[in-house]
Symmetry: C2
Subunit: 203 residues, 2 copies
């Protein structure tokens, strides 16, 4: 007995998702075949893939070529936060950070074939270059790039790579754990009279 | 900051799958946006939902209205195996069972709104009725319905419901654990000269 090819293919596709094994994949395949939520998922993937793109500046997901955060003049142009995913960006935004972002969408992993190009690190370099030349000469040295990644071998390697890549620029680069940045933000807020963290408060 | 609606909707759809939490859903959403496998998954769901149906006889997945197993004359018409999912059917087929099947696609669960109708138990009753009238009067009492479900509260209730539902029919109903059926099949095979289990060997 062979289960129909369309069914086996569906299981294989779910199985290819991160952290999903064959048993869970079979459960998901049955779910999308038996429930209307299956059609909703299919439509959601189609719509998201068709309409979402990476913001040309910070690389977050957006339905515009440049996202609303990157066109917001109220935000500090002297602070850049490098994070591994959009969920991290969302969390730091909620926590009160009001500078710029760069979303890597992953971490360096030679085993998985993820190198600097896959993470668009040349774009990050370009972005920092632009920020340095835009900053007035007096404030250029105040430009601060914070790299905040979870602790892992890949994260450490990625942070180190970014630090080395930006070594020659007129900016400071800090490698922080999420906890360190959280304390940093709290500190900045406790000294802040305004509702949002002002440009230079967290250094 | 709000992540784009299309992205949030994609996460919600993955989150609605069984056994998937919000964090895993976000990982999956990012995966389908970043990899070609996302388009493959979307296509696989579309194709499977469009082309697969439940076999009108045993309710397994098939791209035909009646599946190849149910039109196979070589199989015993005196044995019917009731299983909860197509994976179980596949396993028993691999193990050497050569009778008929009925796939429930779930278990009774009042909490989840799954009653006898959702499992198509009236169709199972109809199927047994047909088998009873098709069997020659001498062999009708040899008709054997085996209900093989994993052990759980829902499985016990489902087995009991089926046993009660078929109580008035000229057939025997056995509630077995998967282990008991496995021993049953092994026993049948050890006495069998042929490569497959003959019609009446396993009782």
């Amino acid at each position: 007995m062979q289960l129909p090819a369309q069914y086996r293919q569906l299981i294989e596709c779910f199985d290819a998702l991160p952290g999903i094994g064959p048993r869970a994949a079979a459960r998901m395949a049955q779910h999308v075949l038996e429930h209307d939520s299956g059609e909703r998922l299919q439509q959601a993937i189609l719509t998201a893939r068709r309409t979402l793109q990476h913001c040309c500046c910070c690389r977050t997901y957006s339905d515009l070529s440049i996202c609303p955060l990157c066109t917001d003049d109220e935000r500090s142009a002297l602070h850049l936060l490098v994070v591994s995913g959009v969920e991290d960006q969302f969390r730091w935004e909620e926590a009160g950070y009001r500078g710029g972002y760069f979303v890597l969408h992953g971490l360096l992993s030679p085993v998985a074939g993820i190198g600097p190009r896959q993470l668009h690190l040349p774009d990050l370099k370009q972005r920092v270059e632009t920020l340095v030349s835009a900053a007035e000469s007096s404030s250029a040295e105040n430009l601060l790039v914070k790299v905040v990644l979870e602790s892992s071998v890949e994260a450490d390697a990625t942070g180190q790579f970014i630090e080395d890549m930006l070594a020659g620029f007129a900016c400071r680069v800090q490698l922080l754990t999420p906890g360190q940045l959280a304390v940093d933000l709290q500190h900045a807020r406790s000294f802040s009279a305004a509702d949002h963290v002002p440009a230079g408060a967290d250094k």
